[in-house]
């Protein structure tokens, strides 16, 4: 009986403490994006150290990640004669990124092999690889390399060089931090996604300006496996 009373008191104390902690949490300002220190794969609560700008997002364990091509995609779409959209993607899409508590230490590097372009029609893919569009023989890759990463609420604002068709241009994109998890093989995974629009004419791709839209919408979604 004495043991039961002690257990009940302990449970009550724990529950009260937990409630108070929740109340305290609600009244606190928004915490920064919780990036864990390197080597710790388990999600941890937000730290008390303020990081500017304040943010609250999914936990991304700090470390270097290799992009898992099987769970990543670089998808594009282009207007076709002012009517519909033509969609496609690059089957060979690789890269790596570094997650860190300090956004300034984060980096993202992506590479797509132009020859792997896939729009579901093999002859159109041949045409896309030709000098009319990507010129895959002369410019075999599309690359992005970040130069500056900033926190933007729960997400990131990433500035970097996008190189396509031999032209390198600095762009800034809002990147959504999707989250992280541990797979059955005990590997830590983290994912990001961004949507952006580029003008193909900015990259020297001028063929059929009246037929194929100049604006190319890109969706870049990548999941990395922590090294």
């Amino acid at each position: 009986m004495k043991k039961l009373m002690v257990l009940a008191l302990a449970l009550t104390a724990t529950a009260t403490a937990a409630c108070n902690k929740d109340k305290a949490k609600k009244s606190e300002p928004v915490k920064p994006a919780p990036v864990q220190p390197a080597g710790d794969d388990k999600p941890t609560p937000p730290t008390d150290k303020p990081v500017t700008p304040p943010a609250a997002g999914p936990a991304i364990p700090a470390g270097t990640y290799d992009i898992d091509p099987g769970h990543s995609a670089l998808i594009w779409r282009a207007r076709h004669f002012g009517a519909g959209y033509t969609y496609g993607w690059f089957r060979d899409f690789k890269g790596s990124f570094v997650a860190d508590a300090d956004p300034a230490k984060q980096t993202i590097e992506l590479t797509a092999q132009i020859a792997s372009v896939d729009s579901a029609l093999p002859k159109r893919d041949d045409h896309l690889r030709s000098p009319d569009f990507f010129n895959a023989e002369q410019f075999p890759t599309l690359t992005f390399k970040s130069s500056k990463v900033e926190a933007a609420g729960a997400n990131l604002k990433v500035t970097g060089d996008l190189e396509l068709h031999g032209v390198k241009k600095s762009i800034t994109v809002d990147v959504t931090v999707l989250g992280s998890g541990v797979d059955p093989m005990n590997a830590t995974r983290a994912g990001y996604e961004t949507h952006l629009t580029i003008k193909r004419s900015d990259y020297g791709m001028n063929f059929m300006p009246g037929g194929i839209g100049d604006d190319i919408d890109l969706t870049i979604a990548f999941e990395g496996v922590k090294k």
């Binding site: 029609l121 159109r124 000098p131 009319d132 010129n135 002369q138 009246g210």
Partner: protein
Amino acid sequence: MSPTSFQIGMGLHIVGYPALAATVGLVVSRVLPAGSRARAAALVGAAGAGLVTSHVGLAGQPPWPPIDSIGWIPIVTAATAATLMIAALVVPRRAAALVTGALLALATLAAVYYAGRPTFLRSFDRYWALAGLATAGVVAGAGLLTAATDRSVRPAPWVAWIVVAAGLAGCTLWSHSALVAMLLGSAAVTAGVIGVGGAILGVKDIGPAPAGVFMVHVAATASYAHLYAKLPAWVLMTALLAALAPIAVPVAMSGRRRLVAAALGVLIAAGLTGLAAQRMHAKDAASVKDAASMYY
């Protein structure tokens, strides 16, 4: 069914503007004294203007330095035309053939190099084969042009070159580059204006220099198509033989039956180019069938 603004725009860029540019140069040469240095220079300018206009209109004005090596082609063509115009004005007549031949050889070597520069910077092996064949073809074609036209009908080689450029355009279209196909097709337009238009206007003294500018331009474009648009090497070889046929046949026939020599040269050129185009078309038709017939 009336043509759309898109179709009209394409027509103007492939045919209209280059034809206009070359015609202006041809008309200028027509009013200049026959056999004069100024007329020779104007004819070179006419060829250069037509070819550069079509290229810039279709592929866009290249940045400096060009990023895609296709941008080097109009630059080299313009430089070749400018150099040959100066040569036509200043080089003594007895040295003209030698100087023109030497300049065309250098121009072809440069044109092929710049058209395929990204590839040749990685590996120079393919350069000598491509540039060697192209230079031999250009120098032989331009060098023997006068001898051939003296032994056949004057515009015959130009008619054959129209067919060769148009056939190469078809082959390139079936290797899936509409842009390079249009560039070759519009080069045929310039050949038509200079060769056939010149005959109509009575400009009889079209020498090897305008032909050389045309051949340098087509050699560079065809080399580019081979390197970056998967145009097979056998198509290039066939086109080279076809382009030389209207030169070789009259020279070989030594001036006998000029009309037959001219017709035979054109027919061989058309036959060879037609066979290449037919084979490319068949290869494309036999490849993977796409769900949509019109995928562009």
